[in-house]
Amino acid sequence: MQIFRPGADSVIRVALCAAAIVPFIAAGLAYAISSSPYMTQQNITRNQPVPFSHEHHVGGLGLDCRYCHTSVEKARFAGLPPTETCMTCHSQIWTNAEMLAPVRTSLAENRPIRWNRVHNLPAYVYFDHSVHIAKGVGCSTCHGAVEQMKLTRQVAPLTMGWCLDCHRDPRPALRPREAVFDQSWQFPPNQEDEGNRLLQAYNIHPEHLTDCSVCHR
């Protein structure tokens, strides 16, 4: 009498191989999905109460980032402009535009406009804009070509791996302080030397940039 069918040996071999391989594939798949643009919410344009265009205000008119994001050099938060900042110009220009009705209502009723957040870090991450700017990390390094965005979107994945890429070796991302807000600035061909020079000049110590408490405090 034969207990196992003739193919049983093959079946058990395949099963054993699968048992060895599947966990790795599953882990790889899980990692790929978690870091995919779908999960990181990259390149999604969100509806906003007012369809504010950085393309028009930055690319077209040439306003400096700091005209609206006033606390970016001094604080953790870059600063979202109060309605008064919008009305500095729009009390005189486009005063009857339907598109700007929420802005006028906001000023009249003294209720801030409820923008929908585009860059959302987990609550256990501490991020400070001011130190990045002081150490020569430009706006476009993380936020991309904002001056071409009709509606603001997140360009970087904002995953921990992405943060660490730079914190392990910030040299490729460094630029002179005076170019931080220049959206048209390009990395020079000798960025390797420049990066080393700026690392020294701005007192950056990569050996401490990956300490847990730098971002989790």
Partner: protein, 173 residues
Amino acid sequence: MKVIAVTIIALLLGGCADQSMRQQKRYGTFGAADLWPDGSSARPIPRGTVAQTDAAWQAASTPPPAVTAALLQRGRERYNIYCSPCHGLDGKADGMIVERGFPKPPSYHTDRLRAAPARYFFDVITKGYGVMYPYAARVTPEDRWAIVAYVRALQMSQQARLADVPEAREKLP
């Protein structure tokens, strides 16, 4: 045995959809809060509040600091950010926003504004003037003085005579 297995599975599943660490129940900067009538978690400072640093803040607005190269550099940077959209990079009031229809402010290169005291410019930045909104919330007192110094430099630049900079004679064609 069965109980242990069920417990372990239950514990593992519990970790799946828990976002409580990612999105904690606290307000982010300028976050929405339905608790208050204006819907913002950022609360306005109560009327009559005097901050501990207020005296230092006020002191920075009087008297004007000494004019140094660093102050002028800072002034140029701040002027280009906050003032140039209307007043133009050269102070002739031909900024981009004016080109788009904003009422044209006076040029700095008029007799009236050349004669105006530095304090006048400082006060206009602080309180606004005509259709110009106040910039007190956006530009610190120190930066306002820096901007005033740079406006003076702009005024001089349009009135400069060769006698003011004799060493420039050789560089001129």
